[in-house]
Amino acid sequence: MPLRLLKYALSREHPAPRFFRACEKPKDSYDVVIIGGGGHGLAAAYYLAKDHGITNVAVLERGYIGGGNTGRNTTIVRSNYLTPEGVNFYNASVKLFEDLSQDLNLNLFYSTRGHFTLAHTESAMRTMRWRAEVNKHVGVESYVVGPDEISKACPQLDISCSGQAPIHGALYHAPGSVARHDAVAWGYARGADQRGVEIYQNTEVTGIDVQGGKVRGVHTSRGYIATNKVLSAVAGFTPRVCKMVDVQTPIVIQPLQACVSEPMKPWLDTILVSGSLHVYVSQSSRGELVMGSSLDPYEVHSTRSSLDFVEGLTSHILDMFPFLSNIKIVRQWAGMADITPDFAPIMGKTPVDGFYLDAGWGTWGFKATPISGKSMAETIANDKAPELIHSFRLSRFEEYELTGEKGAASVGH
């Protein structure tokens, strides 16, 4: 069997398919230029072509596609947020995710596991009840459960957390899922490419040409490209790109780290999150435990990871699962999270005509990839943001209309 597999892999009759054309050189101009080949930029390109017939589009990526936060996240998809506008928005994304493997004709390993947000204090329980009510109201399946139901779903969990922080209950969210993040980027890239979009890797935008308050083009490491519409979907690089057009935002960059254990036989088929212990954990289809924590405590523009992080995280994981004490951590990494003060994204138009922003995705943007791509495509095509993302506009800060999402978004995932 392995030999046959090897022969197949080396056979000339079955070459590995390319996902998108390797375009030689960018054209002199495009209708739309998208900065950033992460999930968000590629999804926007896909929906521009698919929903709006706009195909004269280039996606410019300074590294390789999906190499930013898209390929670094812990892939939790959920919609159990706190504000009605947040729940509605993320719920629309979950709906798109559920059919996405079909749409993109690619197995995204989208796996609905159920998601428990553990509460270790009475005040945390209060927030869980509040979120459950808001979710129910919007039609999302979330409800509060007690320790018995948690034990039933995950018998390995020490409900007393080694006596450190006994669990009072949890918010259970049935649609909670995980997916294969690279496949999301590659699937959108292939779909966009098939519809005529051009994707350029190793192509960095170094400046944006603005004249009379309007976008005229972009300077890149491979020359000047004329365009009237630019979408910035660069996550951790947002402050740098916004500086090119003098657009002010509240975004600060803080690293968010994650790690995986060595692979084990499947034992954890649900997603567990603890705000008090600052951990979230799920088991990947390869058997590794995928684990993350909260943000690093101060601004840094780099993707270096630290020993402090694994030490802190694993000690809390051991509170929950003492039997993991001889399991090894095999990889750790960091991404640059673009954090907003109200833990909600910044999407839509900006004071510069033709400069559209999709940013502020912080620690929570993977789950929003489909809906943000769709919403940004609509914003660019109509030069007007749809109602769904109105609360996420950049001008909300000047208008003192911040969203109140902190309670549901501040544990990074």
Binding site: R240, Q248, T249, I251, H301, D338, E398, Y400
Partner: protein, 87 residues
């Protein structure tokens, strides 16, 4: 373990410190426009660079300033507010 030098207590582990954000000039609330004030309240200079930042040493309750390169995470120097020239 990362280290930071408190101007009063010397070099200490980073876990004893709290980050207080970039040092920013407050516009005069009596004379500035609403837009300027909203910008001061919400917006930040998020681009990387050598920045002057507030840091707090928890055990001794000392606020001080660090000049730090936010790209490389390297601190050039630290001093108490107003004592920049004495260093």
């Amino acid at each position: 373990m990362k280290l930071l030098k408190c101007p009063v207590n010397g070099v200490r582990p980073l876990s004893e410190f709290v980050f207080g954000g970039e040092v920013r000039e407050m516009p005069d609330p009596n004379t500035c426009s609403d837009q300027e004030w909203a910008g001061y309240v919400h917006h930040r200079n998020g681009a990387p660079g050598m920045k002057k930042e507030w840091w707090y040493h928890g055990p001794s309750g000392t606020w001080f300033i660090a000049e730090r390169d936010t790209m490389r995470d390297e601190v050039a120097r630290t001093y108490l507010y107003g004592q920049e020239d004495k260093q």
